[in-house]
């Protein structure tokens, strides 16, 4: 029997990790992900898992140990936030380049400087080109469900890539909400045993992992990583279908909210989508055809499906909780603009709002204001500002 519980995001992730019962977890404390590590340590101490838990001396070593464990043939996990993910940066690329299906929940937090412990997406957005699969989660339920599905996605023989599952720091990680947990047996039946094909501890068949490529091979091997990413989308949908069978909950590449007939659309990831949906409801009640698209799978980017869903809209606002400092807008916006270049029909007007850096709240009035801006843009045919910083003191 599944259990309905009032839970924080970190508790939901720690519970998923307990149920997954990985072979190895290597982790280091960092706010706001620390609780995950602490709660998992309790599971280890109380014998609720038989995972080998490595309390490393840094996040760089956390990812290095996870790489060693995964290459050795183990199911390996870690968890981190912000600076921790930044310190892992070198090893993120190596995990992907070695095609090791490590799974890591990441609790989104701003990057220094100035130092700040609250939510924005600078950390995981900064890792968007590392070769990791990235799955974003709106709330604790999604984070729990996505983490369990990520095991199957990462370890799928057609994929074999590391995957990170993100949720918003404090807003979700420390905020209480309702969630439904699956039974341990159901989770374990769903994720199955990990059966690696080539691994270091298979000493009868020695392999060399991490060899040196010169210009005669490097390109082919990097291309293989890209090739694996082309297969992720189908696997994500396949795994979601199976997950629906055990949970009744439906997952896709992205979620449309009142999107089909919408004329004005917002694109967003993670917790602010919840606030935005309430705004959509209010605007709909007033007769405005507002809609929302919440991206779940951000890497690889499901371009065709997103373009199809957004084509024909009158105007689109992309809300980014991170900045690229390229002066071309946030990472979501830049990707979406590039994707929409191929959309059929007349060019859709698109603007970008950078919001919520360092945990700054975003409220319903601000989001309603974004929809109003879109209406104005369509009315006048003019975009006054393509990138707007929303809710900042100028």
């Amino acid at each position: 029997m599944s259990r309905r519980v009032a839970i924080t995001g970190n508790e939901a992730i720690a519970e998923a990790m307990r149920q997954i019962n990985p072979d190895v977890v290597a982790a280091y404390p960092i706010t706001p992900a620390t609780e995950i590590v602490q709660m998992f340590a309790n599971s280890v101490s109380d014998g609720k898992v038989d995972t080998e838990f490595v309390t490393v001396e840094s996040e760089h070593s956390a990812m290095s140990a996870a790489i060693g464990a995964s290459a050795a043939g183990a199911r390996a996990m870690t968890a981190t936030s912000s600076q921790g993910l930044a310190l892992m940066w070198e090893m993120l690329y190596i995990a992907a380049g070695l095609k090791l299906p490590i799974v890591a929940p990441i609790v989104n937090r701003a990057l220094s400087a100035p130092i700040n412990i609250h939510c924005d997406h600078s950390d995981t957005m900064g890792a968007r080109d590392s070769g990791w699969i990235q799955i974003y989660s709106e709330d604790a339920q999604e984070a729990y469900d996505n983490l369990i599905q990520a095991i199957r996605i990462a370890e799928h023989p057609d994929v074999l890539l590391p995957a990170m599952v993100t949720m918003d720091g404090f807003i979700v990680s420390h905020g209480m909400s309702n969630a439904e947990f699956l039974d341990d047996d159901v989770v374990r039946g769903f994720i199955k045993e990990y059966e690696p094909k080539h691994y270091l501890l298979d000493v009868e068949n020695p392999i060399t992992v991490g060899a040196l490529d010169f210009s005669d091979w490097y390109f082919e091997h990097r291309r293989q990583v890209a090739d694996a990413h082309t297969r992720v989308k189908d696997v994500v949908l396949q795994v979601a279908e199976e997950f629906k069978g055990i949970s009744g909950r439906e997952y896709k590449l992205f979620d449309g909210y009142k999107l089909d007939d919408a004329e004005y659309a917002i694109v967003i990831v993670n917790s602010a989508a919840g606030t935005a949906k309430t705004v959509v409801d209010e605007l709909r009640a007033k007769g405005l055809k507002a809609g929302l698209l919440k991206i779940r799978l951000f890497r690889p980017f499901p371009q065709e499906e997103i373009v199809e869903a957004l084509s024909g809209k009158k105007a689109i606002a992309v809300l980014d909780r991170a900045d690229t400092l390229s002066l071309m807008g946030g990472p979501l916006y830049i990707d979406l603009r590039a994707a929409m270049y191929d959309s059929p029909g007349p060019r859709v007007k698109m603007v970008n709002y950078i919001y919520g850096l360092g945990g700054r709240d975003i409220n319903m009035e601000q989001i309603a204001g974004v929809y109003n801006d879109l209406v104005e843009i369509v009315k006048t045919g003019e975009i006054k500002r393509s990138v707007t910083y929303l809710g900042v003191r100028e």
């Binding site: 080998e52 070593s61 060899a211």
Partner: protein, 308 residues
């Protein structure tokens, strides 16, 4: 201990055909270390000379499972492999007994990898870490490291008119830093004294928990000597007491080699191009300082042994 003849019959676990320079001591040291292993073994190596010369895709010189991930994390990577072994053994997925060796050069160990090594030693992973100490960043072209001896000229501590000494700082004593972790076994060895070194590797593998061995690894390019003299250079490093052969087992210091005729360090220095400038008249005082440092260190080591 097996005889040389017996050893010559063993399978080479690091086989020939790799691209290390003629006269490089690193593969000699690692072949000796692997010849001392009697069980299955997984090897990890930091980025550096040994790694780049032995794993040029699509070839590998390793006849054992081998992993390289990055520069500063050989210890952390192997700690992950060793943890996976314990996890899978506990779950009945692995039956065999497997040993774990992590390798790094001095750059990857004394400098950029020190934190990762310290962490792995403190956590108590059952692994042996071998540092092949060639006393500079040789793979990138002879830059000074914290293992470079005082007075050595490197490409980032070159001798010049303003700084005639070359490197002005003394080297870090890594073996003592490792011993200060109170791990069961820490030692210094040299492939010129292969019986001593292989005995140390066996001992390091036999202890439960982490062990560390620092092995001297002359680099003919960086030290500038005739590649035929690698072993002689090592012997001189030992007989001048520049590189004492000793071990610390459960806190007890034992000096394994006490030269009957302790040679002046200049005999070792003058064989190497990196120290040539020390013999210019303006560096005479420096030679004396270097000799004094070596004597002090040697006497301290003997005194610590006597205390035990």
């Amino acid at each position: 201990m097996a005889t040389l003849k017996e050893l010559s019959m063993k399978d080479e676990l690091l086989c020939g055909g790799h691209r290390a320079c003629a006269g490089c001591a690193a593969p000699i040291a690692i072949r000796q270390a692997l010849a001392a292993v009697d069980t299955d073994v997984v090897v990890g190596c930091a980025t550096g000379c040994l790694e780049v010369t032995t794993t040029i895709y699509p070839y590998t010189a390793w006849n054992v499972p081998f992993i390289h991930s990055a520069f500063e994390n050989s210890a952390a990577t192997i700690s992950g492999v060793e943890t996976a072994y314990r996890a899978l053994k506990k779950r009945g997925k692995i039956k065999r007994d497997i040993q774990f060796i992590a390798i790094g050069g001095d750059g990857g160990t004394y400098d950029i990898g020190l934190q990762s090594l310290s962490g792995a030693m403190e956590r108590g992973h059952d692994m042996v870490y071998i540092c092949y100490d060639n006393q500079a960043y040789m793979n990138t072209g002879i830059q000074r490291s914290s293992a470079t001896p005082k007075g050595a000229s490197t490409t980032t501590s070159p001798t010049g008119s303003a700084i005639p000494a070359g490197k002005v700082q003394i080297r870090k004593d890594l073996t003592e830093i490792m011993a200060a972790h109170h791990i069961p076994y820490a030692a210094q060895g040299a492939p010129s004294h292969w019986k001593d070194f292989m005995r140390k590797v066996k001992k390091a593998l036999a202890v439960e928990g982490p062990a560390f061995i620092n092995v001297l690894s002359p680099c003919r390019l960086g030290w500038r000597f005739d590649p035929a003299e690698t072993i002689d250079i090592m012997r001189l490093a030992v007989s001048t007491c520049f590189w004492p052969l000793y071990e610390i087992e459960n806190g007890v210091v034992k000096v394994n080699q006490k030269p009957r005729d302790k040679r002046p360090v200049r005999e070792w220095l003058e064989k190497q191009g990196r120290f040539r400038h020390l013999f210019a008249p303006e560096n005479e005082g420096l030679l004396e300082e270097i000799q004094k440092d070596i004597d002090d260190n040697w006497n301290r080591l003997l005194a610590r042994e006597a205390m035990a």
